[in-house]
Amino acid sequence: MTENDLIRKCKKGNREAFNALFSRYQSQVINIAYSMLSDREDACDAAQEVFVKVYRSIASFNEKSSFSTWLYRITANTCSDFLRKRQRGGNVISINAPSDDGREFDIEDENSSVDEKMELSERQAAVRAAINELKEEHRIIITLCDIEGLGYEEISRILKIPPGTVKSRINRARSALKKILMKNRELFL
C-alpha cells in the first residue's frame, strides 16, 4: 500500500493504517529525537508524543508537503518542547554511556580493528556529547543535515527557512561544534 493510501485511510480514522504508517517512520523519528535530546528514554517519549500529535491532527495535513517533511517538523517542534521543559525544570541530562545497551557504538564495518573501533567509539561519544552542548537551533540542523543526511531543500521545508539560511546555519553549527570539540581534538587527528 502506498503512503498516500495509508494517509487517506488514516484520515478516515483507520487505526491499522496509522500503525502501518508509524511503523515505517518510528526509527527515523526516534533517532531524530535521540540526536536532539541525547537521552534514549526521552527520545522514546518524544517519539510517542509526535505520533499522538500526528494521530490527533492528521486531518489538518494538507499533503502540500510530503508526509515525512510534516512529520519531521512535528518531531523538531516536539523535541524543542522537551528541551525547553528540561531547561525549565533545571534537569541535567547525561549522555547515554557507550555501554548503555551494547548497541550504542556497534560498528558495522567488520574489517575495522579493535583499536579502530575503540577510537571511533570515543569520537562518536565526544561528538554526541558536543551536540548535546549545542544550542537548540544548531542541534536540529546538525541532526537533520549531518546525522540524518537530509538535503538542504527538505531541511528548508521542515524548518521553514530559506535554503540559503540552512547552509549558513549549518556552517555556524559546525563551527560551534568544532569549538566544543577542541578539548578532544586529539581524537580526530
Binding site: R15, F18, N19, F22, Q26, I30, N31, Y34, S35, R40, A43, C44, A47, Q48, F51, V52, K53, V54, Y55, R56, S57, S60, R73, I74, N77, S80, D81, R84, R103, E104, D106, I107, L120, R123, Q124, A126, V127, I131, E136, E137, I142, D146, I147, G149, K160, I161, P162, T165, K167, S168, R169, I170, N171, R174, L177, K178, L181, R185, F188, L189
Partner: protein, 412 residues
C-alpha cells in the same frame, strides 16, 4: 590562498564550490597547521554522519496504541459533552430566558405594583416606562447600534458609525498605530460597525482575517474606556509593535488569537498546520512572572477562553521562544513575552514567491543572522511597499515608532 582566508573558507565550507575546496586542499598540502584544521573538521563531520542509530523498543508500538486508545476516549468524552449541549441547548436557553424574565419582573415589581395601587382602574397608562434596572432609563431601551452608542459615550460623536455590508460577520478590527503607508490590497470586506478607540488618524485597517470577527466589536459596547487601552497593539520595550499576521482561513497560515484578560487570566491559543495546536495560558498573579502552562488549545480551561476575542495578533517570539513557529513564551501581566531580546515579528510568504520576496528583503535588510533579519522602520516600509507593488502576497507587519526592527521570514 593564505592561512587567514583558509580559516574563513573552512567556516563557510558548506557554501564552497568544488573549485574553492580544491584551493583549500592545495593550501593544506603546503601548510601543516591548516592541514590539521581541515582534517579535524572533516573527521568531526564524518563522525557525526556515522553516529549509530538506536532501535525502538519492542513494545514501542504497544505503548503507542495504548496512548492512542486513551486519546480516542478523551475525544469521545469531549464530543459527548458537546453533543449534550447541542441536543439540549435550546432548553438551556429557554430556561435562561425565563430566569432573566423573572429577574426583570422582580426588579420592577415595586414600580408595577405602585402604579397599580395609584391608578383606580388598575390599568397601567401608556406613559409608564418599565425599566430593566440598567443605566439606560431614558426610555430608549432598544439600541440598534450598541457599539456606536457606547463609543459615542466614550469619545464623542463618531464620523461614520454605520456598518458596512457584512460588518457583523466579517472583517475584524485591526488596530494599528503608526501603520506604514502600505496597505495590502487583497483581502475581504472592509471593516465596519466596529469602533476603533484611541487610534490616531494615521491608522489604517487592514482587511483580512475573517475569523473571530463577530466578537471583536463586543468589548467596545461593554467597557469602551477599558477596551480602548486593551485594543492597543502589543508592543515591545522599544515600542515596536508585534506583528499582527495576516491570517486567513487557509489552513497553512497559523492563526494566533489573543483573548482579552478576564479574571486575571489570559489565554493565548494558536492553531497551525504543524500537526498540533498549542495554547499558552498565562495566569497573572500580580507580578511579572506569571505561571505559564503549556497546553493544547482544547485543554485550556474554558474560563480562560470565555473572554471575548478582542483582536488577532501574531505574538512575537525570541531566540529561544519563537511563538511565530508555534512555540510559546512566558508572558508578563500585560501579555508581552518576557525576554531580554527585543520582540521579533514574522512575515510570511507563499513559498512560490520565495525567490522574489527574498530579493526584496535582501535589498533593504541591513543584517541577517540565524534567520533573524534586522532593518529599520523606514526600510521595513520600503520592503512592504515594494512587495505590494510587485504583487507579492505577504502577511502584514506593522510597526510603530522608529528604530530597529527585527523579523523572521517564513514560507508556507
Amino acid at each position: 590562498m593564505d592561512c587567514e582566508s583558509f580559516g574563513k573558507y573552512l567556516d563557510n565550507y558548506e557554501n564552497l564550490t568544488e573549485q574553492e575546496k580544491n584551493g583549500m586542499d592545495e593550501h593544506a598540502a603546503k601548510c601543516e597547521e591548516c592541514r590539521a584544521e581541515l582534517d579535524f573538521f572533516l573527521s568531526m563531520i564524518s563522525t557525526a554522519k556515522s553516529l549509530p542509530k538506536i532501535e525502538p523498543s519492542a513494545d514501542f508500538m504497544d505503548k503507542l496504541n495504548a496512548r492512542l486508545d486513551a486519546e480516542d476516549k478523551r475525544v469521545v468524552s469531549a464530543s459527548g459533552i458537546i453533543g449534550h449541549f447541542r441536543r439540549y441547548g435550546t432548553r438551556y436557553a429557554a430556561a435562561a430566558a425565563c430566569l432573566a424574565l423573572v429577574g426583570v419582573i422582580t426588579a420592577n415589581r415595586s414600580l408595577l405594583t405602585g402604579k397599580m395601587d395609584t391608578v383606580p382602574d388598575g390599568i397601567i397608562r401608556e406613559e409608564t416606562t418599565v425599566s430593566d434596572g440598567s443605566a439606560n432609563d431614558s426610555g430608549n431601551a432598544a439600541v440598534d447600534n450598541p457599539t456606536a452608542d457606547a463609543a459615542e459615550e466614550a469619545h464623542g460623536a463618531l464620523p461614520e458609525a454605520a456598518p458596512a455590508p457584512n460588518a457583523d460577520n466579517t472583517a475584524p478590527v485591526r488596530n494599528t498605530v503608526d501603520a506604514p503607508a502600505v496597505t495590502r490590497q487583497s483581502g475581504n470586506a472592509p471593516s465596519g460597525g466596529t469602533v476603533r478607540a484611541s487610534v490616531p488618524s494615521a491608522v489604517r485597517e487592514t482587511p483580512s482575517r475573517p475569523s473571530a470577527a463577530d466578537t471583536t466589536s463586543i468589548p467596545a459596547v461593554e467597557a469602551p474606556q477599558e477596551n480602548a487601552a486593551a485594543s492597543e497593539p502589543i508592543s515591545d520595550a522599544e515600542g515596536a509593535e508585534i506583528a499582527p499576521v495576516n491570517t486567513s482561513p487557509d489552513e497553512n497560515v497559523p492563526v494566533m488569537t489573543r483573548s482579552v484578560p478576564e479574571n486575571s487570566a489570559e489565554a493565548y491559543q494558536k492553531t497551525d498546520n504543524d500537526g498540533y495546536s498549542i495554547a499558552l495560558a498565562s495566569i497573572v498573579n500580580g507580578d511579572d512572572a506569571p505561571e505559564t502552562y503549556d497546553l493544547r488549545a482544547e485543554d485550556v480551561p474554558e474560563s480562560l477562553k470565555a473572554a471575548e476575542i478582542q483582536a488577532n495578533y501574531s505574538l512575537a517570539g525570541t531566540d529561544d521562544n519563537d511563538i511565530a513557529r508555534g512555540r510559546y513564551s512566558k508572558l508578563n501581566k500585560d501579555g508581552i513575552p518576557i525576554a531580554d531580546a527585543p520582540a521579533i515579528g514574522s512575515i510570511q510568504f507563499s513559498s512560490d514567491d520565495e525567490e522574489r520576496a527574498m530579493e526584496v528583503i535582501n535589498r533593504y535588510t541591513v543584517d541577517e543572522e540565524d534567520n533573524i533579519y534586522t532593518t529599520d522602520t523606514v526600510n521595513l516600509r520600503l520592503i512592504l511597499s515594494r512587495l505590494n507593488r510587485e504583487g507579492i502576497e505577504y502577511s502584514d507587519y506593522t510597526v510603530s515608532g522608529s528604530g530597529e526592527v527585527k523579523f523572521r521570514i517564513e514560507f508556507n
